[in-house]
């Protein structure tokens, strides 16, 4: 079986490196992008099986808006997305309006930094297995 390809978009290179290393140890093919433009290009060209997306990058809600855009794209809307936020739950007030607009579940799974590697692995496996199962 070919390695599942996971794209990580985050403007924090350290996070990209660490998460990439961990996921590679889990046996995934990891692509990284430090902005959403490059990430979109990578999605279009490399067609990852799963996307790990940071919320706050150049702008406050860049990650969320990018996720919404993907969901609105007919070709890409099935791409599983794990959103990782550096903000604690209690600090998400800034995106409440956005939450309501997007029903917040523009992503499949939400995780908060620091991410537990095992939990991340479980969530990835969950989404990939769901994706591969007949719908």
């Amino acid at each position: 079986m070919a390695e599942d390809r996971i794209l990580i978009i985050d403007d924090d290179p350290s996070f990209l490196e660490i998460t990439g290393a961990i996921l590679r140890r889990f046996g995934y093919d990891v692509l990284t992008a430090d902005n959403t433009v490059e990430g979109l290009r990578c999605i279009e060209t490399e067609q990852p099986d799963l996307l790990i997306l940071d919320i706050m990058m150049a702008t406050m809600d860049e990650g969320l808006r990018f996720a919404v855009k993907l969901r609105q794209n007919e070709k890409l809307r099935r791409l599983p997305i794990i959103i990782i936020s550096a903000q604690p739950d209690t600090e998400k007030g800034y995106s409440r309006d956005l939450d309501e607009d997007m029903d917040w579940i523009a992503a499949d799974i939400f995780m908060e930094k620091p991410v537990d590697p095992q939990a991340l692995k479980e969530n990835i496996q969950l989404l990939l297995s769901r994706e591969q199962s007949p719908r």
């Binding site: 739950d89 600090e91 007030g93 930094k113």
Partner: protein, 696 residues
């Protein structure tokens, strides 16, 4: 004056007396001159005739031969002692002197004039001699048995005794008149004084009373007061000092508590206690005495009343002067008629210069302000009309300074007639100074507060920025360490595992601190919105929290007991309450007993909800519990040492609970257990509750 003139008839009496005396004197003089002295002259004339007849009777029968000698002898014997008889001369027809006695003494230069009333046979004449007038009787007799030659007898009587008698009579008359004059003067004077002086005194007293000079009345009376029953032993009390001034005895029914009620009246019957009073006994029926009594009582009564008025006036004056506020009154023309010490202090004028000049009330106000005050006084806006309460305005001092005041005033009426306006002026300058100082201090505090707030905001922004920026590297480090610990990059030796575990614990604490500081920054910036929704407490709050803290729970060997119905929902912000339970359970793990117990209970209570996180362990002293919810307060660790932390967890927890309208407190027993109890009030929002419960 007319009455006085009428009363002063002393002089008239004197004049009448003098006239009567003069009349008596004149009458006496006339009587002496016309009656007494002529009668005495008649008497002399009669005596002269009798002497003549005696002479003739003695000589007429004498014989011729012894006629002369015998005549001399008889006549000498006869006239040896005969008072008043000046001379006796007997001559014969030849004018030869037969007998003569004392003729030489008459001397020459006799003026003789014949008197009327010459008796037959005799000639009565009166002569004026150098020795005074004499009365001379010449008697001629014709024929005798001795000799028919006529004999002439001349008898002279001195009128000196007559003159002396007349003089003496006049002297007696004058002396008597003078004595009578003197006596009548004193008698008249005494008599008139008896009548006039008391009346004059009464008039003087009445005048003094009428002109209000009671002191003079009292001095004028000066009499011992007639009340025998007086507590002062019947002595007059008019000389007593103020307050003791009462003319009545203590038993006198006319006096009450030592105060004069009315002037005494004559007793009506013997049962009246005043019937024993010497006031009436002494006055008797003497109208003047009773009038004096009436005056005394009137003076005493008025004096007593005046004294009370004076005391009252002095009391009111002291009251006015003691008042720290200025009190002024003005009449209808605006002239100030009352000006107390407080007003002197407030305005800088002396009361004398205000009251003794036509000082207008408008002069103490700024231009047109007096009109505004009058308008406010007549309006209903300040408690009126006619009353002004707490009206703020300004007055102008004598030195020109403007003083802020609070004015209360009222119009005084007599009947329906406005007679004066009285005002009470409270100086607000000191208060204004205080207020200015307070405002200045407040401005300074406000500025300082703004600076502090700005600094705090900057500090919080910096704190937020720093912690936020820290969070990513710390999270990355935690993730890396966790990956190592989980053996993702290969198995670790025991030492490596210990060290990585230590790194994880420290990074966990660091993450918690970052979370707290971020929460604190948002609380300080008031960026802590509460988004409530009906939330399953167990599924969305407690279980995620416990799951996230699973490693720590396992490491501490703590048994967690959860008593929450699966379908228990409440209207709250689930994200904020996950933070609440994260803090409370985290505290229970950190400070609670190792291998101890944690019990989480959520249940309904009194329409609201009660949430409790209980753990066994050392707990907290009761005296320290109130400090738990203050910021930067740290609990002691289970072994008495400090546990690393921000000291913000319970402060943030309390803030979240209070933003939900609830309360939080702690209970416990030191050394045994502690629990944190949250109570949220009942909610009126029911939309979503049923759906929430159905989904569980």
């Amino acid at each position: 004056m007319q009455f006085i003139s009428r009363l002063s008839f002393q002089n008239k009496i004197m004049l009448v007396t003098l006239a009567m005396l003069l009349f008596v004197v004149v009458t006496g003089a006339v009587a002496i001159e016309r009656l007494i002295l002529p009668a005495m002259e008649k008497d002399l004339e009669f005596e002269a005739g009798r002497v003549n007849r005696t002479v003739l009777s003695q000589v007429v029968e004498l014989p011729r031969e012894d006629f002369e000698s015998e005549a001399k002898r008889r006549l000498f014997t006869l006239f040896q002692v005969r008072p008043k008889l000046l001379f006796v001369e007997l001559t014969d027809a030849d004018n030869r002197v037969i007998f003569q006695m004392e003729k030489e003494a008459l001397g020459e230069g006799i003026d003789r004039w014949i008197s009327e009333g010459v008796q037959p046979g005799s000639l009565y004449s009166r002569e004026k001699t150098p020795h005074g007038p004499i009365y001379e009787m010449v008697t001629q007799t014709r024929g005798s048995h001795v000799s028919n030659a006529p004999l002439t007898v001349r008898v002279g009587f001195s009128t000196k005794s007559l003159d002396d008698l007349g003089r003496q009579l006049f002297q007696v008359l004058i002396t008597t008149a003078l004595v009578l004059l003197v006596v009548s003067f004193f008698v008249t004077r005494w008599f008139t004084r008896m009548i006039v002086l008391p009346v004059n005194r009464l008039l003087g007293m009445a005048h003094c009373l009428a002109t209000g000079r009671l002191e003079d009345v009292v001095k004028e009376v000066k009499a011992k007061f007639p009340c025998a029953n007086s507590d002062f032993g019947g002595e007059g009390v008019l000389d007593k000092g103020p307050g003791e001034f009462t003319p009545y005895c203590s038993r006198c029914p006319l006096a009450r508590n030592g105060e004069v009620m009315e002037a005494p009246l004559p007793p009506r019957d013997s049962a009246d206690p005043c019937s024993q009073c010497a006031v009436y006994a002494r006055s008797g029926k003497d109208e003047l005495s009773r009038l004096f009594l009436a005056f005394q009582c009137m003076a005493a009564g008025i004096r007593s009343y005046q004294e009370r008025l004076r005391l009252r006036y002095e009391f009111e004056q002291r009251l006015l002067d003691a008042c720290p506020d200025g009190i002024m009154a003005n009449d209808r023309e605006g002239r100030i008629i009352l000006f107390n010490k407080g007003a002197e202090r407030l305005l800088g004028y002396e009361s004398k210069e205000v009251l003794e000049t036509r000082f207008s009330v408008e002069q103490i106000y700024p231009p047109r302000e007096a009109h505004a005050v009058k308008k406010a006084l007549l309006s209903e806006e300040y408690g009126g009309p006619g009353i002004l309460v707490d009206y703020s305005t300004e007055v102008i001092r004598k030195d020109g300074r403007s003083i802020p005041i609070r004015l209360s005033a009222a119009i005084l009426y007599k009947g329906s007639q406005e007679i004066a306006v009285v005002g009470f002026f409270h100086d607000l300058s000191e208060l204004r100074e205080y207020m200015d100082a307070i405002i200045q201090a407040n401005n300074s505090l406000d500025a300082a507060n703004k600076r502090l707030s700005r600094l705090n905001r900057h500090y919080m922004e910096m704190l937020s920025f720093v912690t936020h920026e820290l969070k990513s590297p710390v999270s990355n480090a935690f993730m890396s360490a966790n990956a190592l610990k989980q053996g993702i990059f290969g198995s670790l030796s025991r030492d490596q595992d210990f060290m990585v575990d230590a790194v994880c614990r420290n990074l966990t604490q660091s993450m918690e601190m970052i979370r707290h500081y971020l929460d604190l920054a948002r609380i300080e910036r008031d960026e802590f919105p509460v988004q409530k929704r009906w939330t399953p407490i167990l599924a969305e709050i407690v279980e995620p929290v416990l799951k996230g803290m699973g490693n720590a729970i396992r490491e501490r060997g703590v048994k967690v007991e959860v008593n929450i119905p699966d379908d228990f929902c409440w209207n709250l912000d689930p994200e904020l309450f996950r933070g609440v339970f994260t803090n409370l359970v985290g505290n229970a793990l950190k400070y609670g007993e190792e291998s101890g117990r944690i019990r989480i209970t959520v249940q309904r209570e009194d329409g609201g909800v009660r949430m409790e996180v209980w753990n066994s362990g050392a707990g907290v002293r009761e005296g320290d519990r109130h400090r738990l919810f203050q910021r930067f307060q740290r609990l002691q660790g289970p072994r008495g040492g400090a546990v690393r932390g921000t000291g913000l967890g319970l402060f943030i927890t309390r803030t979240i609970v209070e933003r939900h309208g609830g309360t939080i407190h702690s209970e416990g027993e030191e050394g045994s257990w502690i629990s944190f109890v949250i109570r949220l009030p009942s909610t009126s929002e029911s939309q979503g509750e049923e759906e929430c419960q159905m989904n569980q």
